[in-house]
């Protein structure tokens, strides 16, 4: 009898426990699911708050009318009598950018300087990245460290250091005078040359690192295969190495081109008033002219200039992922 009771009890407990465990499983499953969405939500929320919201604020200001007040623009939405809402969108600011040659020229100048700098970075960075990839493992780590090392010093400080090097009484002129190549100091600082030096110097690591990451994946037996099939080293480079490192070239170029276009500090400190780039113009509109709507329009227009190459990059990346599948 007692045995039967026991077995009954055993049966009961197990039948009660079963839904419990499944409920627990359901709950934990739900938690897990929510946890996953939470993980996505946090960065999403961060971007929403600190990227998208400011963007819309800037967009709104760019479509407002300037005034002498604080803040220096008229509200876009205003309440009129009898409950009528007035929404005033001013596109004058953008038209002004388009009509004034100064802005158009500055944009073109910015894109040109950034483009040329990117190209120089590529010319310098590609062989450096290739050399690092082909170096023995221990040397490789040291070389990579050297590429990253400049980041340990403040960016601003490094740009100031270039003033010391490039100025009329700077180290470069001193050296050239000492050797006797020149009789009087040549003007280096506050020229376009100085801006190129600054941009290339600052952004070179951003070119090298993605190129390195891409080249590291390059299968060296492909180069042997090309050589085996009768391809001379330079032809191998053109037909195999270069096409296979295009994703790295694009990634590196965008990482240099995009921030270089909007660069403010380098043209300001090394270019002085002689090199107009859009970052400086934006700053002047904002801080000197106190014309927030035009400054905002400059920013939005800059974004458009930059969004196009970014979209291009996205598309190429998507294609690459597709190709891998």
């Amino acid at each position: 009898m007692s045995q039967e009771n026991n077995s009954m009890a055993g049966f009961n407990t197990s039948s009660y426990k079963l839904p419990n465990t499944s409920l627990w499983q359901k709950l934990s499953h739900k938690l897990q699911k929510n946890w996953k969405s939470a993980v996505i939500f946090i960065p999403f929320f961060w971007l929403l708050l600190f990227f998208l919201a400011p963007f819309f604020i800037v967009l709104k200001i760019s479509l407002s009318e300037a005034t002498i007040a604080s803040p220096p623009y008229l509200p876009m939405v205003s309440w009129l009598d009898e409950g009528i809402v007035q929404i005033k969108i001013v596109i004058d600011n953008f038209a002004y950018l388009w009509e004034d040659d100064l802005y158009v020229d500055t944009y073109i100048n910015s894109v040109r300087i950034a483009g040329v700098s990117t190209f120089i970075c590529l010319l310098l960075g590609y062989p450096i990245a290739y050399a690092i990839v082909r170096a023995p493992q221990t040397t490789k780590n040291i070389l990579l460290l050297l590429i990253i090392l400049p980041f340990w010093t403040s960016f601003l400080l490094r740009v100031y250091a270039w003033i010391g090097l490039l100025s009329d009484q700077g180290s470069i002129n001193d050296l050239l005078l000492y050797i006797g190549i020149i009789d009087e100091p040549i003007r280096l600082l506050y020229t376009q040359f100085a801006v190129y030096v600054g941009i290339v110097y600052t952004y070179l690591p951003f070119m090298i690192l993605p190129l390195y990451a891409n080249m590291e994946k390059l299968d060296l037996t492909l180069l042997e295969a090309a050589s085996d099939l009768g391809s001379k080293p330079f032809t191998t480079f053109l037909t195999v190495t270069l096409p296979l490192t295009i994703p790295g070239i694009i990634a590196g170029s965008l990482l240099v081109f995009i921030p270089a276009t909007g660069e403010y500090v380098i043209p300001d400190l090394l270019g002085g008033g002689n090199v107009l780039m859009i970052g400086r113009v934006l700053y002047n509109e904002f801080a000197a002219n106190f014309d927030w709507p035009v400054a905002s329009a400059v920013a939005i227009a800059l974004l458009l200039v930059l969004v196009l190459p970014m979209m291009l990059y996205q598309r190429i990346q998507a294609q690459e992922v597709e190709a891998k599948q």
């Binding site: 295969a225 090309a226 050589s227 085996d228 099939l229 391809s231 190709a323």
Partner: protein
């Protein structure tokens, strides 16, 4: 039939034949490590020569030196009479099929195959024609426009082969050509490879670690170990007349008996084996004097199993208990425990289907082993 004709399939036997590839005293050091140690080798036109060995034996290094990817530390390489030692890979009349296939991922199958022809500056129409021909040969006609990643492993292997063959090289080097394929495909491809080779008459040098692959493919095999050749010969020579225990156990399975020569006459040798104690008679002479310590190899498939004791007591006989059976379908492998706790491996074909699942020999059966005088081989190393 003249003497010359009889050498057609065995040019290495012909004293007058000029070797197509001549490797003289080739050595390759990597820092302190000696990958290839003073190797001499002659390969004849139209051969399918295999370099067989475990990993790190130097076979791939030797192949890479033939291709020109490695420079020998010492020695010279001649191909078709021309010294190739200092010629860069892109100027050698040699093409290689890589183990990883090394197909260019950004090019279609057609462009991969045309790559080598384009480098030689061959006329566009000619390139197109030859690519089409070779695609037909490897049965990849409809796949020309595909990228390598859209192909299966076996298809990729054939593209790699086509790419290496399309330039009609004097020598084709193959690095583990079938290594990445599954077993069935491998067997099928082995025969395709042999057909292509005999059709085109190109000299093949194959690197492989798979002894079965080497056995089926090759005209001759060189077995390598620690940078040296241990034995070179036809598959039959290597399998039936191994020179050392290393060869005997590396190529196929074998039973090795340790013993001493008790009688050495012109037409036969008798070895007294210890552990298990038995007399082994071999019907070929040996250059080793009586009393020398030797080893005798007897292949599992050459041993006969029987339930009934032999009529007479003679050499080449053992008695034991079946300790293990491996049923492989077409044949079974038996481990027979003989005197001295030694396991002898015997394989026997399953010619008769077992009735009610009862095999001819069962676990713990007492069995009698015997083999022919011609079965064993004397090993001195």
């Amino acid at each position: 039939m003249s003497q010359q004709d009889s050498y057609i399939d065995r040019p290495w036997m012909d004293p007058e034949a000029e070797p197509f590839i001549k490797i003289q005293g080739i050595t390759k050091h990597f820092d302190d490590f000696i990958a290839v140690d003073n190797i001499d080798l002659e390969i004849y036109k139209g051969e399918l020569f295999s370099l067989l060995g475990g990993s790190g034996c130097g076979k791939t290094t030797l192949l890479r030196m033939l291709a020109g990817f490695e420079t020998p530390s010492a020695g010279r390489i001649f191909i078709d009479g021309i010294d190739m030692t200092d010629i860069p890979p892109y100027q050698r009349p040699v093409n290689m099929m890589f183990q990883s296939y090394a197909l260019f991922p950004h090019m279609s199958v057609e462009k991969n195959i045309a790559y080598g022809l384009n480098r030689d500056g061959i006329d566009k129409h000619e390139v197109k024609k030859r690519v089409e021909e070779i695609l037909e040969m490897v049965e990849l006609g409809p796949f020309g426009k595909r990228k390598p990643h859209q192909l299966s492993g076996g298809q990729r292997q054939r593209v790699a082969l086509a790419r290496a063959l399309v330039k009609r090289p004097k020598v084709l080097l193959l690095d583990e050509p079938l290594g990445a394929l599954d077993k069935r495909l491998r067997e099928q491809t082995q025969f395709e490879l042999m057909n292509i080779q005999s059709e085109l008459g190109i000299t093949f040098v194959v690197v492989t670690h798979d002894q079965e692959e080497a056995m089926t493919l090759s005209t001759r095999i060189a077995v390598m170990d620690t940078g040296r050749f241990v034995q070179t010969g036809t598959p039959t020579e290597i399998y039936e007349y191994p020179e050392s225990r290393l060869i005997a156990s590396f190529i196929g399975n074998t039973n090795i008996f340790e013993g001493r020569i008790t009688k050495n006459s012109a037409d036969h040798v008798t070895v007294r084996a210890k552990n298990p104690e038995c007399d082994i008679r071999i019907d070929h002479g040996s250059s080793v004097p009586e009393g020398t310590k030797v080893w005798v190899s007897v292949r599992p498939e050459k041993i006969k199993l029987s339930n009934t004791p032999p009529d007479t007591k003679a050499p080449n006989q053992l008695t034991g208990i079946v300790s293990n059976i491996g049923y492989l379908g077409r044949l079974s492998t038996y481990h027979v425990k003989v005197e001295g706790d030694t396991n002898i491996e015997v394989t026997s074909p399953n010619q008769i289907r077992p009735k009610d699942g009862a095999h001819a020999f069962d676990w713990d059966d007492e069995v009698f082993l015997s083999w022919d005088d011609s079965s064993a081989a004397v090993l001195t190393k």
